[in-house]
């Protein structure tokens, strides 16, 4: 069965491009969250195999969301997505439990590599 992915980003556009890449490569996008709060609640509901997590978001930022999800499921596989110049945040996210990171603008191959390696 295809691995399931939850996409988290506050822009519909980014969610759409990610979904496009992810689905083309045989993964199943089971949900999209527009902010951290939504990601946490969708994670509980959908129990996805993997999560992509934007950092800068309204309501609840990605780092807080990663911490919350790790509390719920210490085995959660989260890929943090950042823009250039967010290095300290990425490190914070990784130490909070994110398993890998992606830098925008996304390179499709990198997205797939990340999913493959994290998902294995």
């Amino acid at each position: 069965m295809a691995k399931t992915v939850l996409i988290t980003d506050d822009t519909a556009f980014m969610r759409m491009t990610l979904r496009n890449v992810i689905e083309k490569n045989g993964y199943d996008v089971v949900g999209e969250a527009g902010d951290g709060e939504e990601a946490v609640s969708l994670y509980q509901e959908l129990k996805p195999d993997m999560v992509t997590m934007d950092i800068t978001m309204p309501k609840m930022d990605g780092i807080t969301a990663i911490k919350e999800i790790m509390k719920i499921d210490p085995q959660a596989k989260i890929i943090v997505c950042s823009a250039m110049g967010q290095k300290p945040m990425v490190i914070e996210a990784l130490s909070a439990g994110a398993k890998d990171f992606l830098v925008k603008p996304f390179d499709a191959e990198r997205v797939v590599e990340s999913l493959r390696k994290i998902g294995s």
């Binding site: 822009t11 800068t56 309204p58 930022d61 823009a83 290095k87 945040m89 490190i91 890998d100 925008k104």
Partner: protein, 665 residues
């Protein structure tokens, strides 16, 4: 990846961000201490950058990156929000808008270098002092273990550990190398202890290495397992693992170590292990309505059309079932479809906010240009009305507001001399009234100058010389007549002598009316009254030459019965006297090219107001008032004089809808 198909979504969302940048900037200017606003703006610029980068819109990405840098400085209070800074940001938003539209429409991009330089200058101003001295020390290339580590290894081996050298080569295009190194450390440290790193941890953090580094680790895991763990990290080109000989602690791979060329970039130091405390999660204002879905307007129109058809066939079915047992079940169908109809209609409704939103910025700019202090007050911006009306009402409002700024509000000193507040106030508001929406634009300026309007009207031949004093109403009517302008000088803003009549005709084309109220010297208020929707209207159904026709109720003033004996002929045209006014009569059937009416008895006449003039239409019969769903007529039947569209009635027959304004004359 192929993302060209996402361009529409990109465009829509990018425009939203631009709008919110504009709004935030305005409120930031008023309240520069507000951190939430800056955070909001930063996020908007940041998101735009990410989106533009993904679309491959490099110019846009570069530009938003510069804006983001400035906003970041503001956010961290490293840059003072002076008026200069704010003005540069305003101009940047304008530039961004042009850039965005050019990018979306694939027009050639206007160079934005100048604006980028202005933004960069802001960033440079603050960052010069912070730039760390360039360090010129060289990375230690020795892979030799020091005495301490050699001793550590000896002891660890005695306890069953193995010492390994792990050479990790990152892919050449790795982004954020230091963070990638961090993930390697994270993974390795789960199963091993890192006792040495070449280059040093600090140099790795500062990205002062080429693409490879060597870790010396102690572990109980077999070398293959370590190899696997590291290989399973992203962006790793290759991994070599070697067991260190425990006799001398020398690495066997020493000969493979490359000379790591120094990166001289003066990147800001950012510790891997000692990252600064994160800013607390920002509290976000909820100005963006949640849970919105973007739908193509065409699909909405189709849905509404179908609902219209459903409603019609429901009426047919209900009529057929009258007196039948099934009427009970049909009650339910009736109720549900009615509700469905209202729900579908509500999809067409949008808040007038989307029109009002552009005005704070416009008023700010015009106020600056005219040297007047102006306070714009907006109310009722969430008032909803039909999307098609919203799309067309923007320009008339722009015109009226410009008029208020240019002609209405007096210059500052003049206001003070009149003991008015130095700051002029323009109020823009909307509210519902029955099945109408009222939009009101008022200013506390000089109001209508009745005398000047009278003189001008006489000069233009709109009034007879020697015409007496004007009432406010008359003056208002004159202002809206074609070719009238009282502007003393043609300015950049308005006053080219066209406009107010165009405003009026736009409003009338939306089945609306426009009125002026004024107290000379005190205020001017313009009230636009529009129907909530153009899709459903109330109409009076009449019969002419056997055809059922619908006359929009808006224009209907009254219905009367006329005896043949009352009809007189003036200049070969039939008229009657109605309350001491001459009312021209037309045969509706004849106007539409049908067979003229021939009846002996009293004639039903519908009195309709067309362009301020009352006329009577003689009809064959009067059916009554009904709500009808307007269907436009397309193709070759488009633009028939006197016909605005058609509708399907409850009994299934089609009725043409009369367009009063083009029916006669």
């Amino acid at each position: 990846m192929d993302i060209s198909s996402f361009k529409d979504v990109f465009a829509a969302e990018a425009r939203d961000y631009l709008q919110s940048l504009n709004e935030d900037l305005l409120s930031f200017e008023k309240n520069p201490g507000d951190k939430e606003t800056v955070d909001d703006m930063f996020r908007a610029a940041h998101s735009l950058k990410g989106m533009a980068g993904t679309m491959g819109f490099d110019e846009l990405a570069e530009f938003t990156h510069e804006m983001e840098s400035v906003l970041d400085l503001l956010r961290n209070q490293e840059l003072e929000p002076t008026i200069d800074v704010i003005n540069i940001l305003f101009r940047s938003v304008d530039t961004l808008e042009i850039l965005l539209e050019q990018t979306i429409s694939e027009e050639p991009i206007t160079p934005v270098r100048e604006q980028i330089v202005a933004l960069e200058a802001l960033v440079r101003k603050t960052s010069v002092s912070e730039r760390p001295d360039q360090q010129q020390d060289t990375a230690p290339l020795s892979v030799e273990l020091d005495e301490f580590n050699r001793e550590t290894i000896k002891q660890a081996v005695a306890q069953g550990y193995v010492a390994l050298a792990v050479k990790v080569v990152l892919r050449a295009n790795t982004i954020l190398k230091s963070v990638r190194v961090y993930t390697v450390f994270q993974a390795v440290e789960k199963v091993a202890t890192v006792i040495q790193s070449n280059p040093s941890v600090q140099e790795l953090e500062e990205e002062k290495f080429d693409n490879s580094f060597i870790l010396t680790i102690l572990t109980k895991e077999p070398p293959e397992s370590i190899q696997n763990i590291v290989e399973n990290i992203s962006e790793i080109d290759r991994v070599e693992v070697a067991v260190l000989s425990n006799e001398n602690g020398k690495q066997r791979m020493a000969d493979e170590v490359e000379t790591a060329p120094l990166e001289t970039a003066a990147t800001k130091k950012q510790g891997l292990t000692q990252t600064g405390p994160l800013a607390p999660a920002p509290v976000v204002r909820q100005h963006r309505p949640e849970a919105l879905v973007r739908v193509e307007t065409e699909r909405l129109d189709k849905l509404i059309n179908l609902v219209g058809e459903l409603v019609t066939s429901r009426t047919q079915v209900v009529e057929m079932a009258k007196g039948d047992d099934s009427i009970g079940a049909l009650d339910q169908l009736d109720r549900v479809t009615t509700e469905l109809q209202y729900a579908a209609m509500s999809l067409r409704m949008v808040a007038i906010k989307q029109v009002f939103d552009r005005f704070p910025r416009m008023v700010r700019d015009l106020a600056q240009a005219s040297g007047k202090d102006i306070d714009l007050k907006i109310f009722g911006e969430m008032t909803e009305l039909d999307r098609s009306i919203v799309n067309q009402i923007g320009d008339p409002l722009v015109h009226l507001i410009r008029n208020s700024i240019d002609h209405g509000l007096e210059p500052k000193d003049e206001r003070v001399a009149k003991s008015k507040p130095a700051t002029g106030t323009i109020t823009l508001g909307a509210r519902h009234e029955g099945s109408h929406i009222l939009i009101e634009i008022s200013d506390d300026g000089q109001g209508l100058n009745l005398e000047k309007i009278r003189e001008k009207a006489i000069e233009r031949g709109l009034l007879n010389p020697g015409h007496g004093e004007l009432s406010v109403e008359e003056a208002g009517d004159l202002l809206f007549s074609p070719g009238f302008s009282t502007a003393q000088a043609v300015t950049d803003l308005s006053g080219r002598g066209v406009g107010l009549d165009a405003v009026k005709s736009t409003v009338e084309s939306l089945s609306g009316t426009i009125e002026i109220e004024s107290e000379p010297g005190q205020f001017l208020r313009t009230i636009i009254k529009l129907p909530l929707t153009l899709a459903i209207i109330k109409a009076l159904l009449v019969v002419a030459d056997g055809e059922t026709l619908a006359i929009p109720i808006q224009a209907v003033r009254e219905n009367i019965q006329v005896e043949h004996s009352q009809i007189k002929t003036v200049q070969q045209h039939s008229v009657i006297m109605l309350r001491n006014e001459v009312l021209p009569l037309y045969d509706l059937a004849e106007c539409l090219g049908f067979e003229p009416l021939k009846v002996d008895g009293p004639l039903p006449v519908i009195v309709v107001e067309i362009r301020g003039q009352k006329v009577g239409f003689v009809v064959e019969d009067l059916i009554g008032q009904q709500e009808i769903v307007i269907k436009s007529i397309r193709g070759i039947l488009n633009d028939i004089r006197g016909i605005a569209g058609a509708t399907v009635l409850g009994n299934g027959t089609i009725a043409l809808i009369i367009d009063n304004s083009t029916l006669i004359g």
